[in-house]
Amino acid sequence: MSSVEYTHEVSVIEGRPTLRSLDDLISKPLETRPDKKFYIALSITLSMLGLFVIGLIVTFYYGIGTWGNQIPVAWGFGIVNFVFWVGIGHAGTLISAILFLLRQKWRTGIARFAEGMTIFAVMTAGIFPLIHTGRPWLAGYLFPYPNQHSIWVNFTSPLLWDVFAVSTYFTVSLIFWYVGLIPDFATLREKTSNKIKKLVYSIFSLGWRFSNRHWQHYEMVYLILAGFATPLVLSVHTIVSFDFAVSILPGWHTTIFPPYFVAGAVFSGFAMVQNVLIFVRKIFNYEHIITIDTLERMNKIILLTGSMVGYAYSMEFFIAWYSGVQPEQFTFINRAFGPYAWAYWIMVSCNVLAPQLFWFKKIRRTIPVMFVIAVFVNIGMWFERFVIVVTSLSRDYLPSSWQYFTPSLVDFMILIGSFGFFFTWILLFTKALPVVSIAEVKAVVDGSQPSHKEH
């Protein structure tokens, strides 16, 4: 290895850009009109969103019967998509909060974007339980409030805990994101000459003047919010896993579910962030901010969390055998060799085998290869939820009711449409807000740190 050098810290930003050039570069997409490529991309995502709308109209007009759900597979794509999208959101909080607490400077280039993805992913996820309730206009009843009829929500149901967990998570993520944006709004306010923009930025920058005192408060708030967000990363997917694990259904009820779901969520989230950032850094010329080193580190985390997920799969399998409980054993053999074996092996090869390629440095640093692997990871993670939900339900305790689950066209429209919804937000985000934190990146550029006399 040629690059053996540990005596000094390598900057996470390449090439020592001037602070001015960073301001200009990061705010450039906000100051220029969208080009043709942007409109092409937007028209694709909007078309997908159109499918979503059609799917929802069909669902609400004719009812949930238009989906593939049946008895015993009463939970189908709805919950699979919900868990998938909540999971995608986790990388953002991990990058912005946990890596912040771990003092990982390389997060600065990607944190803002990942946080944005968290918010959009949770928004996308939130739609599914609403549809799944069948009467989304009654969603207000999900929140417990004192009422004349003394009717309360079911506090012992993890589905209700989901409502609390996801809404808390969304709120804290939004605040965290916004707090990080305040200094950048101020920078934009100073830069722009457009009156309307100036007004908007002024309002959102909350009177930020870059004073020392402001920074001190800002850093304290940021640290505290990171502290709040960290347990939330764990709690949200933990509670999502409780939706399954508190039941007595084989394949759902297993104690490793909480940490396994969290690892899986971070895993898929990182894959999604990596996928999108590969485009962002290329299109906006951020290659020296979101460097190949940063991508390599992300790939290492994908390898780590992918291996954790692999550990959980193996543990489930082993303990199912070890338990000696017949329904448990059957469930896992059925998963691997039953009618859904195809889904199971897609899951295993995408989630466990594919990321193992990241053991090789060359692959961790080759963009097309890492892109493909991360796409596989996302496919695999979607299938993981599919395998958990569908295989267990379709072979429950009553063999006479066993059925094969076949999703309907509407199911697929809503699935594809959810991607449209998510990516529409992403596209708008890239043109509306700085996708990289200007203030934070400036702080980690070489030469911005206080230096001692030896220089």
Partner: protein, 391 residues
């Protein structure tokens, strides 16, 4: 690099105290074995899993430092390596148990297994031969990793070769999967199979979380003692300590998270195959031990380490580390002893003897190794950065 490091030897007081504890603990446990073999063998399991935890927790700490490129802990790493040396003790502590497995493990008796459908189905895994093979292979892996880590690290003291850091980084990456697998099956073999009908997929993670805490707490005590008394290099500040406190705090929460997940899911589903394990720990006086576990393992360290100043204060850190370390022993006691004493918890001179033995073993091995080598990895390329580290 001109580091003001001078090799100093530990005061003989400590070495002597270690040996006194070791000898008295050893004698007590030997007498224990002669008076109540079964009870002593159960205590021996607690001791064994405790020492494995300390050693493996320390190895995990070392591996994580290399993999993440951490600098704040580099001035301490040699101390953690000394703590990891306790992994060398494992076969000697395991021997008396392996000789008396019949008293501990239900599944050891063919006539019992013959009568029990569940045990019969587990026999391909739970049998004496495979058990001993697993234990031997695991110990071989741990020893190998320990020797490679420390050999490279010590060699670097002389050569200052940066490539050795790279070698150890790679070794750490290879170590991590082995670490996960061996620690999981150690937990299943020594702790879970005590109740061979019981099963929980999270159990390996549970033992892992406790082990990391045990390794961290032991290292923290040793680090702060040596550093405050001036055995390490100059320039180590409370900023370096801070992360030790933060890690203790984080893993205390992690343990609570894992423990709560395991408990809640089993309680909620209420399946008799699983609940009996917790019910055993709720019957009679065991209830108090279970409640105590929550306080000693979570509530006290949580509030003790919550604030930022407390994570930097050396005195507070040492006190909390002792509590965390004791809590791990307590946790193991809570996992192991209900199998032996079904009617209520027992605590007497045999238990105390084994606790003294644990302390004696840790201190003796540490002081022996610490006197042999440099207490700071003076050849580490990241050392200067580690000393200059500011939060």
């Amino acid at each position: 690099m001109d580091l003001a490091y001078q090799k100093k030897y530990l005061p003989t007081k400590i070495t002597v105290a270690g040996y006194i504890l070791l000898v008295s603990g050893f004698l007590l446990s030997v007498v224990g074995y002669f008076t109540n073999l079964e009870r002593s063998a159960f205590n021996n399991i607690i001791l064994l899993t405790f020492i494995i935890s300390v050693g493996m927790g320390a190895l995990f700490f070392i591996g994580t430092e290399y993999l993440s490129g951490t600098v704040w802990s580099v001035p301490f790493r040699r101390v953690v390596e000394f703590v990891a040396a306790s992994i060398l003790l494992v076969p000697f502590i395991a021997l008396p148990i392996l000789a008396n497995m019949g008293y501990l493990f239900h599944w050891m008796h063919p006539e019992v297994v013959e009568m029990d459908e569940l045990l019969k189905s587990k026999a391909p895994y739970l049998n004496a031969k495979f058990f001993i093979i697993r234990v031997t292979v695991f110990i071989a892996i741990w020893w190998l990793i320990y020797f490679l880590f420390t050999r490279n690290s010590l060699k670097q003291d002389e050569t200052k070769d940066q490539k050795l850091t790279k070698t150890n980084t790679r070794l750490s990456a290879v170590f991590m999967p082995f670490f996960a697998i061996t620690i999981t099956f150690t937990a299943i073999d020594w702790l879970m199979s005590l109740e061979p009908h019981w099963f929980s997929t999270i159990f390996g993670v549970y033992y892992f979380s406790g082990s990391v805490l045990a390794g961290l707490a032991t290292s923290t005590i040793a680090i702060i003692f040596l550093s405050e008394k001036g055995y390490l290099v100059k320039g180590i500040s409370q900023d370096n300590y801070y992360s030790l406190g933060a890690l203790l705090f984080a893993f205390t929460n992690f343990w609570a998270y894992i423990a709560f997940s395991q408990y809640l899911l089993i309680w909620y589903a209420n399946l008799p195959e699983e609940t009996f394990w917790f019910l055993e720990r709720w019957e009679g006086s065991w209830m108090y031990v279970s409640i105590g576990l929550i306080f000693i393992r979570f509530v006290i360290p949580y509030f003790g380490l919550l604030s930022q100043p407390s994570k930097k204060d050396p005195k507070r850190l040492v006190v909390m580390s002792f509590i965390v370390l004791f809590a791990h022993y307590y946790d193991l006691y809570w996992m192991v002893m209900p199998t032996y004493a079904k009617d209520g918890f027992v605590f007497g001179w045999i238990e105390i003897g084994f606790i003294i033995l644990a302390a004696g073993l840790l201190i003796s091995v540490f002081s022996y190794i610490a006197n042999k080598y440099n207490m700071v990895a003076i050849g580490d390329p990241k050392l200067k950065r580690g000393i200059d580290f500011k939060l």
